[in-house]
Symmetry: C2
Subunit: 392 residues, 2 copies
């Protein structure tokens, strides 16, 4: 015999972002590449207190095996916050704690997808979601989008002619990579179509709480009447990513399958980290902390927008995000963002070319910029250098 | 349309152990069921110091996104310990940090198994490995075992007639569920056969360091000449399971595939937990800690063995483990361990019936007992009650 891998391995490749990140760890690089939170805002002091408290009060529980579903008080806190913030009606029995929201995406692929099944998503969409789903060998179909989100007529056209559509994957708030937000009408319309065709929706919402202006919009899940919407989120952007604590909220028809998958995948998520986040929310003002994050990111967005307006040539378009971490740049058709990146790296500026965010087509003239991780003066300088590279 | 799940979901079912564990959380139950470490030995004070130190010295790194492979100093510490303890020759580039060893098993299924492929394992074997692999729809084939491990003639017979064997999964040290340990000859023989047929081996070794008498045996990986052995282990039994830190050690031909899978599955394992364990090993005497664990478990094993010898009827056989957490009981053919469990639960004693540990046959007269999690007097009392239930 000879060693052979599973067929799925043919469709997996090294994440372009993570490879770029390796290069951009040099301190001289101004990086708009990774979607990294601002580390200076991590609640380090609070976490020290919380870590001590959890170990002193319940060390043996915090370090022992625990239940697959997650730490019940944290699941209740999450459900309560979701209902308040996103207008949902979930309770702790709907919440499964996962290793970041990435794991909830992987599990969604595992729960639904057989080889050849169809998964619909925005085009462009989050590239690590594409990787997660690809491991289960679906046919990924990108649905065209505009400034208000997925275009519903296009979605319905695809639904009418497609068989074996397993779910629709969407990021309605401050989307990764575009930074765009869906209108309320589109959210309602999406649920109407999902109901009509009986298709689950995966609503990925890691950024929704990081809104700079206006009110948080009701989640897609808030319009859910048939329990078809699976809501996915994480503490990575509002608290810290290093602990890898995310969750999904799903109705029982899906929840039990996710729990089975979680059991086989890693038994449960770190119970000590779950207890620490729960204790943090009990003892500290989490909303005030999120306010500090949004204020800083808003300043950074402002600087990035102002600098792009001032220095970018007029044939380069970009999005004005109302929250989150990202903006999206469209270069003139003839330009290639990967070539541009190579030249920019020579000037110590990094970003992610847009090509890997398209599930099923080749688009070379877009790129994603992240403003959350660089101080204002470096954003200003980096965008100037990018503009200069664009125009030579 | 109607909602349909992936075909793999048909083969997954709720872990019998985890369901029993829910019942056995009542304090009056003497539980030999779950493979739980003794929580009174968790290094709570040390972890408090370590948590503070990691957050003070490198809080922003500990809470940020990190590399998929894991925290380099921890990977190096693991490689060094493996080489010293298990006679291997690995380095940090071979080590991938996972969310417990369970995740390494899940990833092994994902890396190798297409529907219908063959996976060979001991019969009986670890039931959560069976669950992890089943999600990828293999044909699991159990190879007969005796007190010295897997029977090599039986293995070769199966290899001669089987196509698409993707890997051989083994637990050579203090096996879960039997507590048995493979002889050195069998380990060498296994590698010879793997070399001859070019088949990867997954060597699962969570208990090997917990040896009560005699020397640690060289790992299967230590006989590896063609890089075919993938070694899997965890800090769950030597440190604590609540943090979910495990690892695998693999040669480059496999390592890169595992990294791709890890990226899609959850990006990386909690970096703060990795840094804490690394700092613990730097500041504290980990070997002394393991010695304390083995001393306690040895006492508990002694009490369990002595009580079984005294009270069990002579037609009930059991294994004398030289380390680890488990022993294995064979009842007379006509007895059914699940029926016995129901009667035992009435007397507030719990264990795991053996049936779920068999990959491909129905065996009803075996059961697994865990001695690590109960104090000596409760082990004594619990075994007496079990013996009484056995004889009425």
């Amino acid at each position: 015999m000879a060693i052979t891998f599973a067929r799925r391995m043919e469709s997996l490749k090294i994440s372009e972002i993570r490879e770029i990140l390796k290069i951009t760890q040099r301190p001289e690089v101004i990086s708009f590449a990774g979607g990294l939170p601002a580390p200076e805002l991590f609640p380090v002091e609070a976490l020290k207190n919380v870590a001590i408290k959890v170990l002193e009060d319940s060390g043996s529980k915090a370090l022992q095996y625990s239940t697959t579903e997650g730490f019940a008080p944290l699941r209740k806190q999450i459900a309560t916050r979701m209902n308040r913030k996103f207008n949902t009606a979930v309770n702790l029995d709907n919440i499964l704690i996962t290793s970041g929201s990435q794991q909830a995406l992987d599990f969604s692929g595992k729960l639904f997808i057989d080889k050849g099944d169809v998964v619909l998503c925005e085009s462009p969409t989050y590239l690590a979601a594409i990787s997660a789903f690809r491991a289960y060998e679906p046919r990924l179909v990108g649905v065209p989008t505009d400034d208000n989100g997925m275009i519903m007529d296009e979605l319905e056209k695809i639904l009418q002619i497609s068989e074996n559509v397993k779910f629709i994957y969407v990021i309605p708030d401050f989307q990764n990579p575009t930074g765009r937000t869906w209108s309320v009408e589109r959210r309602q319309h999406l649920v109407d179509l999902a109901n009509k065709y009986e298709i689950p929706i995966i609503e990925d919402n890691p950024y929704g709480e990081l809104r700079f202006e206006g009110d948080i919009l009701p989640s897609v899940k808030s319009f859910d009447t048939k329990g078809l919407v699976i809501f996915v989120s994480t503490f990575s952007k509002t608290f810290c990513p290093g602990m890898r604590i995310g969750w999904l909220a799903a109705d029982p028809q899906f929840f039990n399958g996710y729990v089975l998958i979680k059991q086989g995948a890693d038994l449960h998520t770190s119970i000590i980290s779950q207890m620490e986040i729960s204790k943090y929310m009990e003892l500290y003002d989490f909303e005030a902390h999120i306010k500090i994050i949004t204020n800083l990111y808003k300043e950074r967005r402002n600087v990035m927008m102002a600098t792009m307006l001032e220095y970018f040539p007029s044939n380069v378009k970009f999005n004005y995000p109302q929250g989150g971490l990202f903006t999206w740049v469209e270069l003139p058709q003839h330009m290639n963002a990967t070539d541009l990146l190579k030249r920019c790296l020579g000037n110590n500026v990094a970003f992610v070319p847009g090509a890997s965010f398209y599930p099923d087509k080749q688009v070379d003239n877009t790129l994603r910029l992240c403003y959350s991780n660089m101080p204002e003066e470096r954003i200003h300088e980096g965008i100037k250098r990018l503009a200069l590279t664009l125009t030579v």
